[in-house]
Amino acid sequence: MTLEQLAALLKLLLYAGALISGGAALAWASLGSRLGEAAKPAPRWIAGGAAAALVAAVAGAVLLLWQLGGFDASILAALLGSPSGLALGLQILGGALLLASARRAAALPLRLAGTVAFFAAFGTNGHAAASSAWAGLLAGVHVLAAGWWLASLLLLRSACRSLPAGELAGLARHFGRLAVAGIAAMVACGAVLVLVLVPPTREAWLTPYAQNLALKIAFAAGALAVATYARTRLVPRLEREAPAASLALRRTVTAEIVLIAGALSATAWLTTFHSPHEYHEAPAAQEEGGGAPAGRAEAGPEPPEGGDDPYAARVRAETTSDLEPDQIHQLGLSEVKRIEGEMLAIARQLGFADLRAFDSSLEHNPALAAKSGQELVALYKDHLYEMEVRLPLLFGRLPRARLEVVPMEAGLEAQPAGAAYLPAAPDGSRPGRLAVDTNQATRRQITAVESAAYREGLPGRHLQLSIQQELAAPPPIRREAGLPAYEEGWALYAEGLAYEVGLLRNPYSRYGKLRNEMLHAIRLVADTGLHAKGWTREQAVQLFREYSTLDEAEAHNEIDRCIARPAQGLAAKLGQLKIRELRHRAEKALGSRFDVRRFHDEILGAGPLPLGLLAQRIDAYIAAPPPSVESDSPYGAHSH
């Protein structure tokens, strides 16, 4: 149990004790001789309630002292000097007076003084008292009337057993007449207090305080409804249908008491855990040290004043590129436009006015959906065979490790790329594997299959990672370790090589390749936008929605990734662009001496390199291009 829950329980005990004790004193005085035998329990209620209230008040004060910093003279002085201290004094005074008066039938002034002290305590401390003295007075009257009602019901409940039907009917009628005035006062004061504490606006009534208050009002309304039923239906029957009606009255009175107890519990909870400030002023937690002292609305890390830009540092770490975020942003924008232009050309060639219409037709074209998982696997195999026989046109060195295409193991599926590459064992005991996601195969578009085969398999990941593993020179760690910009960049570059050997002939497959490439281009814009250009999440979502086929949720996933791992999404596209740039540089410098096989061997021949080192390697190659090497791969040697 937390201290707060303990405080709420003590408060409930205090409320119940004070209401029953003070209320019983009032009820005894107001119902008078009509109670007859039923007056007997009154002193017990007065004494028991007062004792409970005293214990709860003192324990509550001790708990409050503890919560305020401990049992220290200055803290005690602060508490006693506050309205809480005044209320505590009144509670102790009232409890002592009522306890002393309980056993003496003639001590009416003493009892009334104790009762007044008890209810005055409610008027001096709490939410109502804190808002104004008038509200405090209303709260005191509200509680006084509620206490009278509750205690009268407790006495009436005893009377249902101990009084003969005639006397019970007389008592019930007398109580009913008084109750109209008493309960009307309680409801009127309560209603005014509600209006003072919670303004009649939608926002105000949506706060937890107001909703808990509504629960309390519901309990009170339930008790009122039961009371009305008892007064109008049961009391008239008392004399005619004696024992049955008495029993029924006793039950309804019990129900009223339970509902009032519910209202009391709700009040204790409400006043401990909630505050009307929830509406008037939002909690100022943001000012405190714990949660978000430097919190801000924008996504991602914020550069410290006068310090290095942490995002630029992330960009260097993730991409090994020395481009500035702003340059990457512009590069991304131009790539998005270029790819969009190529995609639009394909869509127009196939008779569609814009990409939206084309994308929608692709989605609903049964000819472009896979028939089965087996068909998907077969498609990958076919495309890889077509590529494999053409590899000697593109590479001098080819990997010894074989590549096999297998259906993805259950549990690994749902790959957005449609296929995942698993490298060969370094000792050659197991070939590289392209695992094809055959889960829900018939819902997969085959437009993405051909480029995925080249990207994930050959000449993409399998070729690069196998050559890396088979390199003789570097130490083992360099044969296994990876650099995302180099590896992802190579895969993205490699799928484009299909054009050069006469593959990706089908316009739908070309479109599928461009769709994937577009996603990487958008990431350049969105990641730098969010982290370096003050973009909002909505701006970034908008970009993905406009230029990709991602739905709203997928777009938010992309943004979450940008925020959680700044710059990580930049690696593939920056790596691809770097390799392309180096190729253009080599072609331009070497002219007719340029051999694409030797260039690729050079790119792959040292394993993953940071992009700057890769550029140095290519510059060295341009300065002194060695003659072509013979291939030692199982694909056979070639001549040129």
Partner: protein, 125 residues
């Protein structure tokens, strides 16, 4: 279970539901502090001001240093006010937490923490 017992059980369940934790509470609250919480300071501040959204009674301010040592701090004024000044908090280098406790206007205990970081070389340690 007899109908009466069932009724009692249902009543108990209803009361428990009412008493179940409903979370979130807000009474008086710290509006701001000077220096603001989260500040990184070149030198220990000569004083710290705590400002509340409504009159409250500050009852305790404890400084917790980077080494988890706790020190009670003196503050003024005593009694009800919206602004309190902790004179000469003598914060040490590194992270300092000022844990404050107060009695809010409506009688509730409220508490919070202001975090102030003093640059290590500045405190003369």
């Amino acid at each position: 279970m007899s109908p009466r017992r069932r009724l009692r059980a249902a009543t108990a369940a209803l009361l428990l539901a009412v008493l179940a934790p409903l979370a979130a509470f807000a009474h008086s609250a710290l509006k701001r502090s000077d220096p603001p919480s989260g500040s990184v300071l070149k030198a220990p501040p000569p004083s710290v001001v705590l400002e509340f959204n409504e009159p409250a009674r500050l009852t305790s301010v404890v400084a917790v240093g980077a080494d988890q040592s706790e020190r009670k701090l003196e503050f003024a004024p005593a009694g009800s006010a919206t602004s309190f000044t902790v004179a000469a908090p003598a914060l040490s280098a590194g992270r300092n937490e000022l844990r404050w406790k107060a009695l809010s206007k409506d009688g509730h205990p409220v508490s919070g923490t202001v975090v102030l970081v003093v640059e290590p070389n500045a405190a003369g340690r």
